[in-house]
Amino acid sequence: MERDPAELIEAYFSGELDAAGASALRAWLREDPSRFERLASESRLEAALNKVYQARRLQGVFDSVDVLDELLRDAEAHPTEPVDITDALERDRRERAQKRTQAPHDISRRTDFVIPKWVVYGGVAALFIAAVIFWPGSQPPATPPVVDNNANTHQPAPPLNSARQVATLTAQHDARWGTPSFSVGDGLRAGQRLTLDAGLAEITTERGTVVVLQGPCTLRLTEADDTLYLQRGRLAADVPPSAVGFTVETPTARVVDYGTQFGVEVDNTGATETAVFEGEVELGELSSDADRPARSIRLTAGWSSSVNKEDGLRREPVALTGQDHARFVRSIEQVQDPGLAYQNAVLKSKPLVYWRFDGETDHVTNEAGQARWAGKPIGRVAKGEGLFGSAVELSSQAETIGVVGTDSPIHLGQTDAYTLEAWCLAKSHHWGRVVGLAPFNPERTKKITYLAIVELLNKEGGITLPFLQDHPSQARFLHRNPPEADTSKGANLFSGKEYPVNQWVHIVAVKDHGVMRLYIDGQLVGEQEDSQGLDKDLPLEFSIGFSDTAHKAESGITPDYYLRSFHGRIDEVALYNTALPLETIQHHFTLGRTGIKN
């Protein structure tokens, strides 16, 4: 058989077995009858695993004496109906599913009531058959049914173990611990206190939330489900969908997550600040003032707010700044391997093109190692020092021009948005193209026209295009649809001030439906409405630092300004078919900046 029988058996138990797989499984079993014993053995374990986890859920259902009591009283009152706890299980399952998606996370209920194991592991059917035996339609028993299956040989299930493991220390960087100290791989238990005097530590909770602690920081892992108590210091949390409801409590506040990345900082007075990088949290004040009900606020990505003892919750959220992004270390990778952290951040936004100019192939895209659109150089391409590795070195010499994506046409797809992103280091104020999107033109025979350009202007603001003269030494973002329209058409956005030279600059141009935005170094420097659409079916090419050699041949004009060759270095270039939000751009800038060498 071609498929691994282990894989087939798992597919069978998890409901993923298709007709071909079923046929393969039957054939494998019948080849050798002893294989039925393997299936039998695996099924026993599969059943046991399901029951262990079911039992844990039941512990949650019977979280008070009252619930079980109610079931038993109900059984007495309706003697002809079997006791059925499946309704309670189903209700519990629905409530948990709802809690995961909506309501603030409740601190999990502790159970002081102990359910005899024979009830739980005997399973639903045990209770059912007990009911069948003891209520066959005749007189109800005076007392609730008890099936005495040598119950004295089974120890009652222990109460919820307050020393259970709730997280693991998964990484650290230059960490200096107070007492006790920890090593990577250590299990962390409920109730445990962590004092990190300096450096970074990453802990991962049982549900998969990754928390990066920045020393100095004091934290306690609570007995409550997926809840940390941050007494002092700073942390950033990345919460996967399976852990929605993850909560951080502080001396003054409670932050509940709804599937997000966020940071919390607590100062010496207990004042709490929360910044949301992605998703949404609920920030609530913890008020001991009986006259003032506790208030809370929902914070979405790009916003922060705070709570302090005197004033409670700040009513108006504040937009995140670049400094907020820089303040919170969101992954240890950021510090240990900033190039990788930057790459992962870019890939998370699913770029269509991502050129890093670091390795042999010079490009990384979101298809794990497979380049979707390869860059192909025109002329010689030199390399220079880049942010994290190499960058492409371009000059206005005709022989060393640029890199063009010409393997195959790029299609933006069904979108009304795109983002162009690059880091560039200009050697002087000159007129140079950073990145451009143009109709696919592999033969280089037609004059280039552009759908979008990001370029730097010279001191004159451009000779042949007078309307650029009002913006000397500024960055320019052009969007023109259709690209073949004459050069007086299209919408232009300018940076408003001179770009620095001999310094790495992060430029991001966003076309977001009816709006254009330009960002320099993580700050919005220009924004305007633009009603030109986007021809989604147009095959495009993506280029950097490109010169218009076809036009040069046609017009006979050779000056630099017409060539618009970039003079300097370009690195970490990306094209997205979405509009990157401000907080993502700020995050990229924060991470990229760590690569700039003095």
């Binding site: 039957r26 026993r44 374990l45 599969e46 029951k51 262990v52 058959i129 035996i133 991962t204 969908p241």
Partner: protein
């Protein structure tokens, strides 16, 4: 049913239940379906208990009753995961009956499984939690972890086998101690 019979049935049932459920599960693939069928089998066994010959082993007798309910299930669910024929079901029943002789009680197995789960490495434990606590299918887990569905299924199977070895060694130690 007289009280003696009731008591015997209860004892037999408690001893046979996990073998029966595993047999049903191996025949239909889905745990929730196996629970439903087990409830029906419980009723059938209770109704037929007067016809049971105490001189013969209980589990194979109950498995014959279960086979009828499995056949009903197949009839109603023509698209069920893997439909076995009569001979397959018989071979499965025999395999389960053999296995049930050497296993501990369901409570002992559950205790051992709990402690074996605690000893799993963290990543394996997380995978098991995603599958059994959060109810995610391997394809869904694959989506969140960036691995393929096939790789997740194979990993889960390896973890289950490791748990099985752990339980068996715990059972053997228990028998050796004469527990």
């Amino acid at each position: 049913m007289n009280p003696d019979n009731r008591s015997q049935l209860t004892t037999h049932w408690m001893q046979a239940q996990s073998a029966l459920q595993a047999y049903i599960l191996s025949s239909v693939g889905n745990f929730a379906d196996s629970e439903d069928i087990l409830q029906q089998v419980a009723l059938d066994v209770s109704a037929s208990f007067e016809r049971y010959d105490p001189g013969r082993p209980f589990i194979p007798w109950a498995m014959q009753i279960a086979k009828r309910r499995i056949a009903d299930f197949y009839r109603k669910n023509k698209n069920a995961a893997c439909l076995f024929e009569e001979t397959d079901l018989e071979l499965l029943a025999q395999a389960h009956a053999r296995l049930s002789k050497n296993e501990g009680t369901s409570g002992e197995v559950a205790d051992l499984l709990e402690s074996c789960l605690d000893r799993l490495p963290e990543k394996s434990r997380r995978l098991v939690d995603l599958r059994y606590r959060d109810g995610l299918k391997p394809a869904e887990i694959a989506h969140t972890t960036g691995r393929s569905g096939g790789a997740i299924r194979v990993a889960l199977n390896k973890i289950r086998n490791a748990l099985g070895r752990c339980i068996r060694s715990g059972t053997e130690r228990g028998h050796a101690r004469g527990a």
